[in-house]
């Protein structure tokens, strides 16, 4: 075979990969696919706390009150996009914001939080990613709204934008709080 064809073949492989990327983005619209876990009880979990791995924090500690679980990681570029919004609104949501550190080196995650700010009520670390599988996490950032009975009520994949915050998340939180506990 002619060696001069190699660059063309290499390029064809890249082209196929990029084409796949477009197809993937079109057919896996994160917002179009509802999570099968919505309306189901959130998995029980018990994970080390990022700032103090000897401490364990789990679903029992959150029982009886609604909370927002935000999946993030220091390796995740899109999380950096989302972060200023969490910094601004995280304390004013009306529900605790639980940070779920996904497949991350604890040192990296701590440095990331000290650099960009820590908006979380508590951060739990899932380095192996087992609990993330139970939650059906596909990547970061993702956000789960869990009600007082421990049922997942809403899930959002990709960074929360101001529009999503005011249009979807805040009304849902308000609705949760008017529900009888």
């Amino acid at each position: 075979m002619n060696a001069r064809l190699l660059p063309l073949l290499g390029f064809a492989a890249i082209l196929a990969l990029l084409g796949f990327g477009i197809w993937w983005n079109q057919h896996h619209d994160p917002r179009a696919v509802p999570s099968p876990l919505i309306g189901k009880p959130a998995p029980t979990f018990s994970l080390p706390v990022l700032s103090d791995p000897s401490r364990v924090f789990g679903s029992e500690d959150l029982a009886g009150k609604p909370y927002l679980l935000n999946v993030f990681a220091s390796w995740c570029f899109a999380c950096r996009d989302e972060h200023p919004l969490l910094m601004r609104e995280g304390k004013r949501l009306g529900v605790p914001l639980v940070g779920f550190n996904y497949k991350d080196e604890p040192g990296d995650a701590r440095e990331w939080l000290s650099r960009y700010g820590d908006p979380y009520h508590v951060v739990i670390a899932d380095f192996p990613g087992d609990v993330a599988i139970d939650f059906g996490v596909t990547g970061a950032p993702e956000t789960f709204l869990v009600d007082a009975k421990g049922v997942i009520r809403w899930k959002y994949i990709s960074p929360i934008t101001p529009e999503v915050l005011t249009g979807e998340l805040l009304p849902r939180i308000a609705a949760l709080q008017t529900e009888a506990p």
Partner: protein
């Protein structure tokens, strides 16, 4: 009415670009001078219409015509005029128009400066450039019309992304695009050579100045982007290996290989096929960068909004342009290696190593950038490769280059004597070792990077100055330095300056996150930072909390810094504005975090960054090197007639 005229101008430009692509190509194939002659007027007409469209869009921004959807999304009545101007290219549609405008400026420059080159060759060059322009104009008109109306007309615009309201972002995109698009000229010359079967070294000589100028602009564009990220993102870093940064860095790496490979091909006739391939790759990677940024395939801090339709269009265009040119290369590239033979130790070998390492680096960056996609495609889960991967491999690939740079000029073409070169470089070697040892003894406990930085920087810097000195001593007056040589010296000296900056800042910068109560002082690296509270401050379209930090050294004031946390009025977007006291040997950098506690205390990040300016200073030297090389009169010499009058500016209107 005016916006519709702008769109109409783009349609006319599209028709002209089609004419510029097809007619000269037919003319070149048939030897028809009239058809080939269409190229230049078509190119100039096209540029006029694109410039008109650009002017109309700019006017819509300046007058605040919010009936244009793009203006409404990216401007605001409170936005200062200079940001309204730069907002023209603040988002996808307008930046695409800027891309096309700059492409047309390059085409007009080629049209006016290349009248002495053979007609059929130039006809093919214009055809290739016309096709690129056609593709981008069609893309603009079909998927990204900047003149689309918004009905009902909003009372006010949505405002420009606060991150982009900044001087760095006024100049960064135009310079970057000058570089990206500039590689289209070398690309077109390479394709014209392949199409016409004119595979001698003439095309390389003619394209060298264009490549150097494009590379210089790209260097400047990347440096500006890095500088902007440094002071605007508030993280104190200067390079993040972000997909979009990588998108601009890959063409730079291949472009660096290309300018060296072109030098070999032009002077010695070797590496012909390789130079053709690199010229194709450099522009292909520019197109790929455009694709990555605009298709939404990879998420990034500053990617444009994703749109599958746009992504598909660019992908098809990319397939036609790059696939077509690589197919042409496969069919027509010289089968026999030409050029003069060279020994194992020769300047050719050194430049071959340079080429291989820079190409490997580009491939490494490409692999890392596309890795998340590969992970998805083969169901390996989400894998993201970050700075550790890039940083480690890049240093590994560049270390031999740093070691070999000073040898380049001292090793002769064809066959060099390493012992002679080594003897002449001995002072540089000694200086590097002594300085690194002295640094080791004087400033203990630093990372190896600091010592390596000192040694590498002195080795390259003194090495290249020794060469400049040897030319001064050995060559007769008047023939000591050609612009090409001066450019080489400046660019390589820039590498030395960059190395010092990059490695020292990586190793020795100090970063502290502090809780500061008003009046409290902290001493860092000999500087005393005193926090004097936060006041309210208002800008034209934002309100801000503005901190005051006084910096003192030995009791004497050094700087008064005012970091801000802004909230932009229109869409309540927060934005951290760091405050920097720049210096040649250190930057003092303060960024405001969050208020903590009730006593007026704030979380504040303080950085002391030694030598950080040298990173961009080095890039500026490299850029100057590119420009200076390009003015060498040798490149404008003609193939047959050895005219000496080519020195002056080429007379306009004279045709070959």
């Amino acid at each position: 009415m005016a916006p519709e005229l702008g769109q109409f101008a783009l349609i006319l430009a599209l028709l002209l670009s089609f004419a510029q692509c097809v007619l000269p190509l037919i003319g070149a194939a048939r030897g028809n001078a009239a058809l080939m002659g269409v190229a230049r007027p078509a190119a100039i007409g096209q540029a006029v219409f694109v410039a008109l469209a650009f002017a109309i869009l700019t006017a819509a921004f300046m007058t605040g015509d919010f009936s244009v959807a793009y203006v409404a999304q990216n401007s605001n009545s409170l936005l200062p005029w200079y940001y309204r101007f730069s907002a023209v290219w603040g988002a996808h549609e307008g930046s695409l128009l800027l891309w096309v405008l700059i492409l047309n400026l390059w085409i007009v420059a080629v049209a006016t400066l290349s009248r002495k080159l053979p007609d059929d060759f130039m006809a093919r060059v214009f055809a290739v450039l016309g096709f690129v322009s056609f593709g981008f104009l069609l893309f603009t008109l079909l998927t990204s019309n900047p003149f689309a109306r918004a009905l009902p007309v909003p009372a006010d615009g949505h405002d420009l992304n606060p991150l982009l309201q900044d001087f760095g972002l006024i100049v960064h995109p135009p310079m970057l695009y000058m570089g990206y698009v500039g590689f289209s000229v070398a690309f077109a010359f390479a394709l014209a050579a392949l199409m016409g079967g004119r595979l001698d070294v003439a095309w390389v000589r003619w394209s060298r100045p264009w490549t150097n100028v494009a590379w210089a602009f790209l260097t400047l564009g990347i440096a500006l982007g890095s500088w902007w990220a440094y002071y605007e993102l508030g993280w104190g870093g200067w390079w993040f290996w972000d997909p979009v940064e990588n998108a601009s860095f890959m063409p730079w790496l291949i472009g660096t290989a290309l300018i060296h490979s072109q030098a070999v091909t032009e002077k010695r006739g070797s590496f012909r096929a390789w130079t053709l391939l690199l010229a194709i790759f450099a522009f292909s990677l520019s197109l790929l960068g455009t694709f990555l940024v605009r298709s939404g395939v990879l998420t990034s801090v500053h990617a444009f909004a994703s749109d599958p339709e746009r992504g598909t269009f660019i992908l098809v265009f990319l397939g036609i342009v790059v696939g077509g040119s690589l197919l042409l290369y496969a069919l027509r590239a010289p089968k026999v290696a030409g050029g003069e033979p060279f020994a194992a130790v020769s300047r050719e070998t050194l430049l071959l190593i340079n080429n291989l390492l820079f190409s490997c680096a580009a491939a490494m960056v490409l692999l890392g950038t596309l890795y998340p996609l590969i992970g998805e495609a083969f169901d390996l889960g989400r894998i993201s490769v970050g700075p550790p991967y890039f940083g480690f491999l890049f240093v590994l690939l560049m270390a031999p280059i740093v070691l070999l740079i000073p040898f380049g000029p001292f090793i002769h073409w064809r066959s060099g004597n390493p012992r002679v070169a080594l003897r002449r470089l001995l002072p540089a070697f000694a200086c590097a070792i002594v300085a690194a040892l002295a640094a080791l003894l004087l400033v203990r406990g630093q990372s190896w990077k600091a010592y390596a930085g000192v040694a590498a920087s002195l080795w390259v810097g003194i090495g290249i100055l020794l060469y400049a000195l040897s030319r001064w001593r050995d060559a007769p007056p008047g023939r000591r330095y050609t612009p090409e040589m001066l450019g080489m010296i400046a660019a390589h000296f820039g590498v030395a300056v960059f190395l010092a900056g990059a490695l020292i800042v990586e190793a020795t910068s100090i970063e502290k996150d502090l809780r500061f109560a008003p009046g409290q002082s902290v001493e860092i690296a000999g500087y005393t930072f005193r926090f004097d509270g936060v006041q309210h401050a208002d800008g034209p379209n934002y309100s801000a909390d503005q901190g005051t930090v006084h910096v003192l050294r030995d009791g004497k004031p050094v700087a008064e810094l005012h970091p801000q946390k802004r909230v932009y009025t229109r869409n309540q977007q927060p934005q951290t504005e760091s405050a920097i006291d720049p210096g040649l040997f250190r930057d003092l950098y303060v960024a405001l975090g969050e208020p903590v506690g009730a006593d007026g205390a704030w979380a504040i990040r303080v950085y002391v960054k030694p030598f950080v300016r040298w990173i961009w200073l080095g890039a500026l030297f490299m850029m100057i090197g590119g420009f200076v090389t390009a003015i060498d009169r040798r490149f404008r010499a003609l193939p047959r007639q050895e005219t000496r009058d080519a020195a002056g500016p080429l007379p306009a209107g004279a045709s070959a």
